[in-house]
Symmetry: C2
Subunit: 331 residues, 2 copies
């Protein structure tokens, strides 16, 4: 904790006040939740890694939200069933519990609603929910775990998405160098990084990228000052609300772990943080950063990389003769 | 340790002798190696999970040798670049250091030689070795690790396959219930499982499935007594040696963790252990097992499931602007 000593006149002593109370920062520390149901989260972790949720038996949630790589796939757009090219860049699952809504266009209210989408999407995991549930219910290792978590053997979409969401709630990345600085360790950031943060604030970036996730808390038009040019046909919130004012309005992505979640933007068109910062400066704030300024902001952004998921590689319970067979090559 | 008391005549005392010395079993305990270079194995672990070794940036060694699922993909044949259907069932990487040679047809002498194959195979990871090396050399986190392991920055195919092989050497699954029994715990197996093991021995299965890996130590013709019928065009060792006597001769697969590594045989055509046991009985030993006998042998086989890999999910060092871009959808 950074403390400020305020001298009390005539007494010869000082009053120590946490600096964070004096200068509230627009980005705030991020912390893992303390109310996790570990039984549910453990099942969710297994299911997150289980390719049997897909029609092919080859794709899992972790295929595109790879927890070894910042919770994303580091591709312009994701690979789905039959090598289908996805329409949009895969957002990181890290800290996704902080998203005001899920998907780039916010079409799912929460993690639980989101989890159902890719399983059944023909261009993603392509597995009808009924078959996915049949698969899980055929595996005694899963059934036993659901009994432990819920008290009975029912395997429903509600429960399956509930446990996946509970696992995803654990995927918070605390203790980045920036958080250490926020929490009082003045040595955690270099002067370049601090200058980058000041510039990030003074340039207006914090208007959208604020709060514990440094983003994820609002929708915003991409191309606020100048139009965003892209070949990607996605229309953002417009596709959800049909409102003209929502055209090209997307969820502001979190900047947590942004060093790891390249390429950038909803179309995954930008490979480097430098280019991303420059484009954002131009089209969202109307500012042209010098190379020096860009370098400082990028240096700051890299301090937002937190502790990555740290758990043993999950082991999945084996299938049985009753388990529906994967169909990687079928029609 | 099981001990046998042999009375010494006239002395009124007994001589305690480890039973394993008296009745050597054809299957022997399996144990992890003690001479692992942990620096190399750690890099190898990261590379094993790193999809940037593939042209698409989407497929890693772990995609088809999934360490959450018995070191295999549980598919009839594997999915490769562009959703290419692989020609043969993906063998488990678990205990693969015990293989007398690698691949079903033994065309690679050892793990190091094997590791180079799938990276560059156009139907698997499809990445020219030169690009894979360029990718690794562009990532500072890897370069530093290679310096630690080898003393300098050179990233060569020799070193890359060396570290992957070193990691794979660690993938041994000790302490199965069968090993516990072998090492003297008479309570580790049920009577059904023990009867299954006796039947496994008396039926001749141990002729091929012996040693620490319960297989993997010899080549054998599939269809020794009766022909093996399959649509799969693989010809086994014949493709390597060109000898007529090697037609349909394959490496005998390990039975370690066989419960986890379905579907079975080089063509992945059989989904259940029961069917696999029955077919092997018919075509390799000329024996038709009753349902009761099959059940016993399957019960025994399930005691060969050992301790699965247990390490934290690897975290991969991020790419840089110098890193060659993945090309999932290119020609």
């Amino acid at each position: 904790m950074r403390l400020l000593s305020i001298p009390l006149l005539g007494l010869g002593v000082g009053l120590l006040i946490p600096l964070s109370l004096l200068a509230a920062e627009p980005i705030t520390p991020i912390a893992a939740p303390t109310d996790i149901d570990s039984n549910k989260a453990e099942i969710g972790k297994q299911l997150f890694f289980d390719p049997r949720l897909s029609k092919s038996g080859f794709l899992s949630c972790n295929s595109c939200h790879n927890l070894s790589m910042g919770g994303a796939d580091n591709l312009t757009s994701s690979v789905g069933h039959g090598w289908h090219q996805g329409p949009i860049n895969s957002p990181t699952v890290l800290n996704s519990a902080y998203n005001l809504a899920q998907f780039w266009d916010g079409r799912a209210a929460d993690l639980k609603e989101q989890a159902a989408g890719p399983i059944a999407n023909p261009g993603e995991m392509a597995q009808p929910h009924s078959v996915a549930l049949e698969v899980i219910a055929s595996i005694p290792g899963y059934v036993e775990s659901f009994v432990t978590a819920y008290g009975d053997e029912a395997i429903t979409l509600d429960r399956v998405t509930d446990v996946i969401a509970e696992f995803e709630r654990t995927l918070v990345t605390p203790n980045s160098r920036f958080d250490q600085w926020l929490q009082g360790d003045a040595t955690a950031l270099s002067s370049q990084e601090l200058e980058g943060y000041q510039l990030f604030k003074s340039s207006g970036c914090v208007g959208c990228h604020n709060g514990p996730a440094a983003g994820a808390a609002m929708f915003q038009k991409v191309g606020l000052i100048k139009p965003y040019t892209t070949d990607n046909p996605a229309l953002g919130r417009f596709a959800v609300t049909g409102k003209e004012s929502d055209r090209m309005v997307f969820k502001v992505p979190t900047l947590r772990n942004i060093e790891l979640t390249y390429p950038y933007f909803h179309d995954g068109s930008v490979d480097t943080l430098e280019e991303a910062v420059n484009i954002m400066g131009e089209i969202q704030t109307g500012r042209t950063f010098s190379d020096l300024e860009t370098g400082k902001i990028v240096a700051f952004l890299k301090t937002l990389t937190g502790e990555q998921p740290n758990f043993p590689l999950p082991q999945l319970p084996p299938s049985t003769p009753a388990t529906p067979q994967p169909e990687p090559y079928g029609p």
